[in-house]
Amino acid sequence: MSTTATTTHAPSTPAQSATRQMAQLGGAALIGLFIVYGVGFSHIMPVHNAAHDVRHSAVFPCH
């Protein structure tokens, strides 16, 4: 591999950096999923009621 990867984490191989990058992308995606699930799919009643109009507007199955 050439030294195309310019990361801020100095002593790591490109493979390690790529793995770290995928972990960060995966973590961010999971947080996004968690938030959307919380607003759109939660069965907890006060959460459901607070987000009620958004659930209907976003066409999430609501009740």
Partner: protein, 241 residues
């Protein structure tokens, strides 16, 4: 650091898109929801309808509007986060950079996957309309969005001729069938039918606006903030719309 940039960009974009969405809902969908609730109260009073009964719920008016805007910001942040990750993966795995203009195409695609695909099986619901079991519908919704998203991604990004096989996945959710209410179509009240037709268009419009805003802003954030933090970018392509 990539992770921090993803979170900060998603929060900033989500606040902008969510405020627009939450306020738009006040004039598009919310009046229709509240109108349908008048029928719901009348129809289901005897049937012991479950919600609004015991658990806390925001009071109608300012409080309800406030929580709608807050929830809109929340869902917009979550969607923005996933859109940014998808754009990043397209760049890292397939060498496709994103610009604000391409973000518009991303937004349109996401609108198709997250709104149109599930709505074809489970039409936008007004409160009080008859519907099948909630968990079954939620599962169908998640499976449909996942399957259609995967299919679209494969057709657009994966090289080779075999990718077209992914198109075969598209009809599966509809062949399996969305969970529909078993019997009684409820009160086939002409006013409710009209209300529902208006609601379908209102939701389509609001969701399209949401995804256009998310697509363009995420495309811009990719170009400006995220892409420079990505490694394994095959070629440093200049902005090419």
């Amino acid at each position: 650091m990539l992770f921090r940039r993803l979170i900060l960009c998603a929060v900033a974009i989500g606040v902008v898109a969510g405020v627009v969405l939450g306020l738009a809902e006040q004039v598009t969908t919310a009046p229709l929801i509240e109108a349908a609730e008048q029928y719901e109260v009348a129809d289901h009073a005897a049937a012991g309808h479950h919600h609004h009964d015991h658990a806390w719920a925001p009071a109608d008016g300012g409080q309800r509007m406030f929580f709608t805007v807050v929830a809109s910001i929340g869902v917009a942040i979550g969607f923005a986060l996933m859109l940014l990750v998808a754009m990043s993966l397209a760049r890292v795995l397939h060498g496709r950079p994103t610009t604000p203009l391409r973000g518009l195409v991303w937004g349109a695609g996401a609108f198709g996957v997250v709104f149109v695909a599930p709505a074809l099986g489970l039409a936008p619901e007004l409160p009080g309309a008859p519907a099948a079991d909630l968990a079954a519908r939620q599962l169908w919704w998640i499976a449909t969005v996942g399957l259609v998203g995967f299919s679209l991604w494969t057709v657009i990004f994966v090289p080779g001729r075999m990718k077209w096989a992914a198109l075969l996945l598209l009809p599966l959710p509809y062949l399996y069938g969305a969970p529909l209410p078993s019997a009684e179509p409820g009160s086939t009240n002409a006013a409710l039918v009209t209300l529902h037709q208006q609601f379908v268009w209102a939701t389509a419009g609001t969701n399209l606006v949401l995804w256009v805003i998310l697509g363009v802003l995420c495309g811009w954030a990719m170009q400006r903030w995220i892409a420079p933090a990505l490694i394994n970018t095959p070629r440093p392509e200049p902005a090419r719309a």
